[in-house]
């Protein structure tokens, strides 16, 4: 009974580490696949120019891209389309509730396909804004859901107040998958300039597509160089930064990978602890089964056979822990993914390729087997006559 109990405790210790690794990596892979989807939808030919500010975009008055600069940049060779947009935090009111969210001013005359690519989503309920509309608004996905932005979801045709001005809701965007983007409020240039007259011609960001056949990062370098000269700024002290969409994703991906790496490292440390636990269990098992070892040697087991038996047993303990760990990791990750989606982070989802399962179990077996090497060596080198006599 003690033996069984000890085995299960050992399995538990390795289970925890594998569970954590499985859950973390499944989310990491999910984020990777999400980014791949985004990259596919947005296309990798996009370049961003953002003012370099101290605050978040839209909250810092001193940093913007001017209309002149936007015009200048859009004429650089290799640039295809240019989208300038306003960005500012604003107050939105609906049925006595009010919240601060980002207002995005967009030019409805921009090529719709280009716009959809940039946002990676399109309006799937109602319609897009039309040029010159001063009292119409399109809202992000979350507004129509109860208890996301407002207690009660907003309906098409409802009136909302933005900075105390009434607007009619004419459309909703698809879900992007994070509460910040899905809380965006989309206005026409004209409406935005009406709300914020002082920001006229001071854009929050520029997004450009490059002509086919051009290398986006070469164009980005050229844009950075030319805009710096245009603004008369020193290298390294620019008030803006240029980034290709690919770079942006990569930067984001790197951050995620580092974070993931740290978490996996912590889980690995727990596996090291678990392996010490396995080693301890196996040493005890070797001691308890000394007589059994003697018997096996008497009936012809070679040292290598004994070594193999104990290493395999140790690895098996690890693999059992690994398999149960994968199961629990799966349950945790999938319910975590559901919880994230319910909270508006639908972009945060785990994926479970079979390779991950196989790798986790194999790794757990490997950890167990390695931990069993020393105890197994002790078992193998027992003298048969002494082992047989052991009580």
């Amino acid at each position: 009974m003690h033996r069984k109990m000890r085995s299960w405790l050992t399995v538990l210790s390795i289970l925890i580490g594998v569970m954590a690794i499985y859950a973390i990596v499944s989310f990491g892979l999910g984020i990777q696949s999400y980014m791949d989807t985004i990259a596919e939808e947005a296309g990798t030919d996009k370049i961003y120019i953002q003012p370099r500010g101290t605050g978040a975009p839209g909250t810092d008055e001193n940093f913007f891209i001017s209309e002149d600069e936007a015009n200048f940049v859009s004429k650089i060779k290799g640039i295809d389309k240019t989208l300038a947009w306003y960005l500012k935090a604003g107050l939105i009111k609906y049925k006595d509730q009010q919240k601060y969210y980002f207002l995005a001013g967009i030019d409805p005359e921009t090529d719709q396909e280009f716009l959809d690519q940039v946002f990676t989503v399109t309006v799937d309920k109602g319609r897009h804004l039309k040029k010159g509309e001063l009292d119409k608004v399109v809202l992000g996905y979350n507004y129509q859901v109860d208890d996301r932005v407002f207690e009660k979801g907003v309906q098409l045709g409802d009136k909302v107040e933005i900075n105390d001005v009434k607007f009619t809701v004419v459309g909703f965007y698809e879900e992007i998958g994070n509460p910040s983007d899905d809380g965006n409020i989309y206005l026409t240039f004209d409406a935005f300039e009406m709300l914020y007259p002082e920001t006229e011609g001071k854009y929050g960001a520029l997004i450009m597509s490059t002509l086919p056949g051009e290398n986006p990062s070469d164009i980005a370098d050229k844009v950075e160089d030319k805009l710096r000269k245009y603004k008369g700024e020193d290298e390294g002290k620019e008030t803006f930064f240029v980034q290709t969409f690919e770079d942006a994703l990569e930067t984001f991906g790197n951050v995620i990978n580092v974070l993931n790496g740290i978490l996996v490292l912590i889980a690995l440390i727990s596996l090291v602890v678990a392996s010490v636990n396995i080693m301890n269990t196996m040493y005890t098992a070797v001691l308890e089964r000394t007589k059994e070892i003697g018997v096996m040697k008497a009936i012809g087991a070679k040292n290598g056979d004994i070594l193999f038996i104990f290493i395999f047993e140790s690895g098996f303990l690890g693999a059992v822990g690994g398999a149960i760990g994968v199961l629990f990791g799966y349950l945790i990750a999938s319910s975590g993914g559901k919880a994230a989606a319910a909270a508006g982070y639908s972009s945060l989802y785990p994926i479970f390729p079979w390779q991950l399962t196989a790798a986790c179990i194999a790794f757990a077996f490997f950890v167990g087997a390695i931990a069993g090497v020393l105890p197994a060596m002790q078992a193998a080198k027992q003298k048969p006559v002494d082992a047989l006599r052991y009580e």
């Binding site: 007589k291 059994e292 018997v295 096996m296 040697k297 008497a298 009936i299 012809g300 087991a301 070679k302 040292n303 290598g304 056979d305 003298k383 048969p384 006559v385 047989l388």
Partner: protein, 252 residues
């Protein structure tokens, strides 16, 4: 019929160091066993009889002297070679049965064959079932040792000892943990192996009646043989209820 010598111990010494004390378990033991012979080894505790059997069984090596198995000196072989000899040429039967508690009867009998690595799993299973049926455990094939009586466990051990069809069976107090009735059953099986299968059997025992099953009784005292009693005629043994055991179990 003249028989060849299968085991020969020549001037075998075993000296243990127990703390500061030197224990001389064997002091120049000489012993010869012929092929197909059934030899009992008797003697008071501490006389060195178990030590002697361990030497013959390659479980231990002598401090001095030579042990010949089929003319080959095995006194100073490497552990891997000794393991080879133990597995293939010698079958062990212990006082405490020494079955692996987590394995079924069939698996216990299969184990020695697995260590030899010469047969398929299916062949091993078939042979194990055949051997167990032979010792009267055909209806207990997949029971764990804890689900078997002492006599049944010892019969599993007998089946295990002949799994690899060895020439020599070493039995160390095989009836020591059994009552006289089950002890007799076990002895009958051993005698049968000796007579019909021509196995050489060397058995350590305290029990005078049990020792009588042998062709020869060697008495040990203080690590040397002090008396040897050869029996003129083999006792005729009848098997329980005239059961007709099929002992044709040699591999090929």
């Amino acid at each position: 019929m003249k028989r060849a010598t299968i085991i020969k111990l020549k001037n075998v010494w075993k000296i243990y160091q127990m703390g500061d004390v030197e224990v001389k378990a064997l002091r120049g033991l000489d012993l010869e066993v012929k092929d197909g012979e059934f030899v009992s080894v008797m003697g008071p505790s501490g006389s060195g009889k178990s030590t002697a059997v361990n030497m013959i069984g390659c479980l231990d090596i002598p401090t001095k002297g030579a042990i010949y198995l089929d003319g080959k000196n095995i006194a100073h072989l490497e552990e891997s070679e000794l393991a080879q000899i133990r597995g293939r040429r010698i079958g062990f039967i212990f006082q405490q049965f020494n079955l692996i508690p987590t394995l079924s009867a069939v698996e216990n009998v299969t184990l020695p064959m697995m260590f030899q690595n010469k047969s398929t799993a299916e062949e091993r299973r078939q042979r194990a079932e055949k051997l167990l049926t032979m010792v009267g455990l055909g209806d207990r094939l997949y029971h764990k040792p804890t689900e078997l009586s002492g006599g049944q466990q010892q019969r599993v051990a007998i089946a295990r000892s002949i799994a690899n069809d060895p020439e020599v069976i070493l039995a160390d107090e095989p009836t020591g943990n059994l009552d006289s009735v089950t002890g007799k059953v076990v002895m009958d099986f051993l005698a049968e192996l000796n007579e019909k299968e021509d196995k050489t059997i060397i058995m350590v025992t305290h029990d005078r009646y049990v020792a009588e099953h042998a062709d020869r009784i060697e008495y040990l005292k203080d690590g040397v043989i002090v008396e040897s009693k050869e029996k003129r005629k083999r006792m005729k043994r009848r098997f329980l209820n005239g059961r007709n055991h099929n002992l044709e179990v040699r591999k090929n």
